[in-house]
Amino acid sequence: MKFTLKYFYFITLSLLMLSCSDDDSVDKDDQKPTISINYSDGFPQACEQLVKGQTYTFKAKVTDNKALASYSLDIHNNFDQHTHDDQGEVCDLDPIKEAINPLIFMENYSIEGELTTYEINISITIPNDIDTGDYHCSYSVTDTTGWQSNTSIDIKIIE
């Protein structure tokens, strides 16, 4: 009997310990934002070929359950084929080569007004003096909580 009582006492104590821990007073955001180029205006699409000197509008749709905060666009060369896209398509890559004057585009932007949907819209003119070849284009987006999502696309810059 003594044993049972003690046992009961310990179980109760540990249950108490566990039970009082489930109240979360703050409404937590545990969802990442989303990012997509899979719609008719989304740009660039996988394996897209961009021509030097031309101006393009980079577009992607971002959403969040609470409030979007910032996004970024990074275009860097993939001459050494160190990376690949997540679009599920396999693009034909040029032979591996050394970079001489590659295009480096790295810009950050903020989304004001605690929006839950937004369309990224960046106009870029491809310079004439850069190396042609395989490039990698990645979009990133954050929400106000600090959750982030990325998407990456393989593209090619041609003469």
């Binding site: 821990s21 979360d24 996004y71 160190h82 997540d86 970079a99 480096i104 909580t145 600090g146 982030q148």
Partner: protein, 789 residues
């Protein structure tokens, strides 16, 4: 340590060798009736016959006549027991279980206290891990072995490396001590383990709670104290060879150790070599974000590794002095999962699948050299302890060079290099002015010098000097009630060195133009910190129940990376920013431990409540730097609570059941992530173990079959960038047995283990690879042999 040595010597003083002309022999085994662990140094005495048990609890009485004998088995701290045997040609081995004497042996005074009794009396909530436990549960790394202890878990990367986590806190919040000296590797980094050889370790003490008082800064969440091994017995020479083979990662391991002592001088040595291939996971592809990595034959590519360790020590022991100098070197090379090391997805032209044993990029090499000296001198009622240590930790990380942002493609593969020297000195005086007080006072001094190299920048070069002084008193109010109180002050100076990028970045000027500059990533700064730690506790022993309560304040000095980081962590694909204004972390913790142990069952609970005034946390912000998300070191208040529950019962002499459960709740109560938990929070989990002692079977002696079933709940308490992790259940089984392969020699111990019996695919929330959706290792059969000589 002294008491232990003395009691072994006492046990031994009765020992004499006798010879007779007859041919029979009696073999037996003496164990603790409660823990079933072997008792070393127990006397087995009959009229003219004596024997003493080995460290495995085994004794042999050779050359006896064919008649009936009555033996008395005794050892200090245990009730004596008598057994009678008929010496016949075919005798079974005798097993004797001794129960601990409930009453203290007053006539032997302090020396008569068992290690267990000492621990019960100490108000510090701690847990002792024996060599037996380590041998029985040995996994691929020391911390994986220890993670079976409730409240202890690991952050592991791959199959061979893991670092300690106590009640959900790890990295620099847990101190690892070896031979009295704080082990200084690169605890702050997430992608490497502890550089300690897990063989040849006899005793580990784990403190789950604030322990700055004794161990200084960093011991804010707990301590893993790897204690010096016992001094070998006089005029002894022994050794062992451990062989290990594993099926999952094709591991082959060998470790050989010897130890010897003449009269006053003793030495020990050990060599360990392990080589393993890629480990297998129960899936053929890994889905990480939108990427799919196909695995070849379930091999997690490029996770092979090898490890070579050597250690040697020489010591001197006399009545008043004991000194041991210990040299060790641990060297390892480990590959990292090739498709995504950290968060960034990489493709490569390397043919990773051509062999599962090659180590390609990315990999790291690490070498940890250590020399320590531990000296204790007894002067009247003072015992002076001196620990001196030097450590060098050299780590290099190599990966395929590639351009990142404005950084052009580097010309070599050395991404990071850290070379850290640590010099430590501890002086401690234990003083007992009378039977009631045990006063300990001491000083710890440490100097650290860290150098960096490679093309990636993460933490700056720095020098750090810390000094701390402490005193505490354990006061015996009566033999069952003990009170402990102590205070400590630490002072530290950190001197960071400036660092400039080796390449130019494009920066926008205020006038709208752009210029190319070598960006400064760290500054020359001198920062100093001072803080008080304190602790107070009570222990009360009532028959078979021990009650402990302990309240403590601990602190931790900010690290150089927390203060001065300013760079891209390419693995994690983020920009990490330090904060020079961080204060030392301060934590208050209340620990309770209640343990009830009788011959047939044992039950215990150890709850805790913990409050951090200013927990340092790498907070993912919503901002970008050069298109990478900025993670900033910030401080927030954190409330934590939880605890462990354990129960074990001896159903019959052969059947033992164990049950343990652990839970931690953490909540950031202010700051940017208010309401969120802390990173790497372990989920609620339980471990159910059955041990069954089988009958001897042909050449297998004392075979013991164990099954352990781990149940972990899902973890939905997460913080960016973590993912929620589902619950899981996993079954491990093992068979431990002894074999008398070589006549008149101690038996060969064999352990056969089958981990993840059902090849279950599950995710461990606290694994480094969890972030990239890599499941835990699949089924693994391991066979280990320990051959003593």
């Amino acid at each position: 340590m002294l008491q232990k040595t003395l009691s072994i010597l006492l046990c031994f003083s009765l020992y004499t060798l006798t010879f007779a002309q007859n041919t029979f022999q009696i073999k037996g085994f003496v164990a603790d009736a409660n823990s079933l662990q072997p008792i070393e140094g127990a006397n087995i005495i009959s009229n003219n016959l004596y024997a003493i048990t080995s460290s495995e609890g085994v004794f042999t009485i050779k050359n006896i006549a064919k008649k009936t004998y009555t033996f008395t088995v005794s050892c200090i701290g245990y009730k004596s027991k008598t057994f009678t045997v008929n010496a016949t040609p075919k005798m079974e081995a005798i097993t004797v279980y001794l129960t601990e004497s409930a009453t203290e042996l007053n006539e032997i005074e302090v020396q008569g206290k068992t290690k267990k009794r000492e621990l019960q009396e100490s108000p510090t909530v701690s847990y002792v891990v024996s060599e037996e436990f380590l041998n029985k549960n040995r996994e691929n790394s020391l911390m994986q072995t220890l993670s079976k202890i409730p409240g202890v878990s690991t952050i592991s990367i791959g199959s061979g490396q893991s670092k300690p986590v106590i009640r959900g806190l790890g990295f620099n919040r847990v101190v690892v001590v070896q031979n009295g000296i704080k082990h200084e590797a690169q605890q702050w980094g997430s992608d490497h383990g502890l550089e300690i050889d897990q063989y040849g370790i006899e005793n580990i003490q784990i403190i789950k709670g604030a322990a700055s008082l004794l161990y200084g800064s960093d011991a804010i969440a707990g301590v893993v104290d790897i204690q010096p091994t016992k001094t070998p017995l006089k005029n002894s020479f022994n050794g062992e060879v451990n062989l290990l083979g594993e099926s999952n990662n094709d591991l082959l391991g060998i470790s050989a150790g010897i130890q010897s002592r003449k009269d006053s001088w003793f030495y020990r040595g050990r060599l360990t070599y392990r080589d393993y291939g890629d480990y297998k996971v129960p899936t053929d592809k890994i889905n990480y974000e939108n990427y799919i990595f196909e695995l070849d034959d379930n091999n997690l590519r490029n996770t092979a590794g090898k490890e070579a360790n050597a250690s040697f020590s020489i010591g001197y022991i006399s009545d008043n002095i004991k000194s041991e100098t210990f040299l060790s070197n641990v060297n390892a090379k480990n590959g990292f999962f090739a498709n995504a090391h950290g968060l960034e997805v990489r493709s490569s032209t390397i043919d990773y699948d051509s062999s599962n044993r090659d180590i390609d990029y990315p990999y790291h090499t690490v070498n940890h050299f250590k020399v320590t000296n531990n000296t204790s001198i007894i002067l009247n009622n003072h015992t002076l302890h001196l620990d001196l240590g030097f450590q060098n930790n050299h780590r290099e990380e190599h990966s395929e060079p590639s351009a990142h942002g404005y950084m052009p493609k580097p010309t070599n593969t050395k991404e990071r290099e850290f070379d850290k020297n640590t010099y430590a000195l501890n002086i401690r005086d234990a003083f007992s002015p009378n039977n009631q007080h045990d006063i300990v006072a001491g000083i710890n001094v440490e100097f650290q010098n860290n150098n960096i190299g490679g093309w990636g920048f993460l933490i700056p070069k720095y020098n750090r000097f810390t000094i701390g002084a402490f005193a505490y008193d354990q006061f015996e109010i009566n033999s069952n009630l003990h009170f402990l109180a102590g205070i400590r002050y630490d002072y530290g100076v950190l001197n960071t060195k400036s660092y400039f990028d080796w390449y130019q970045s494009k920066v926008d000027n205020s006038d709208g133009s752009t210029s190319n500059v070598y960006l400064q990533r760290a500054q020359n700064k001198t920062l100093d910190f001072g803080n008080i730690s304190a602790s107070m506790g009570l222990s009360y022993l009532q028959n078979n129940t021990t009650y402990k309560i302990n309240v403590g304040k601990s602190f931790r000095m900010p690290l150089s990376n927390e203060l001065a980081s300013d760079g891209v962590n390419y693995h994690m694909y983020r920009f990490e920013k330090g904060n020079l204004n961080l204060d030392p972390e301060e934590s208050y913790q209340l620990d309770i431990d209640i343990d009830h142990t009788t011959e047939l069952f044992s039950i215990g609970v150890s709850p805790f409540v913990n409050f951090f005034e200013n927990y340092i946390y790498l907070n993912p912000t919503s901002n970008y730097y050069e298109t990478l998300q900025i993670y900033e070191y910030t401080q927030s208040k954190v409330f934590r609570m939880g605890g462990e529950f354990r129960a074990s019962s001896t159903i019959t002499k052969n059947l033992q059941l164990n049950l343990s459960a652990e839970y931690v709740y953490s909540n950031q109560t202010n700051g940017a992530k208010e309401g969120f938990t802390l990173p790497f929070s372990p989920p609620l989990s339980g471990l159910f173990t059955i041990n069954y002692q089988l009958k001897d079977f042909y050449f297998l002696n004392k075979p013991q079959l164990s099954a352990s079933y781990k149940i972990a709940a899902s973890q939905s308490e997460i913080v960016p960038p973590e993912e929620k992790t589902d619950g899981y259940q996993v079954l491990n089984m093992s068979l431990v047995t002894e074999m008398d392969l070589i006549k008149n020699n101690a038996p060969v111990a064999m352990r056969i283990k089958l981990n993840n019996v059902f090849n279950t695919k599950y995710f461990d929330h606290t694994s480094f690879y969890r972030l990239i959706d890599v499941p835990e290792a699949g089924r693994n059969l391991s066979i280990s042999l320990t051959i003593p000589f």
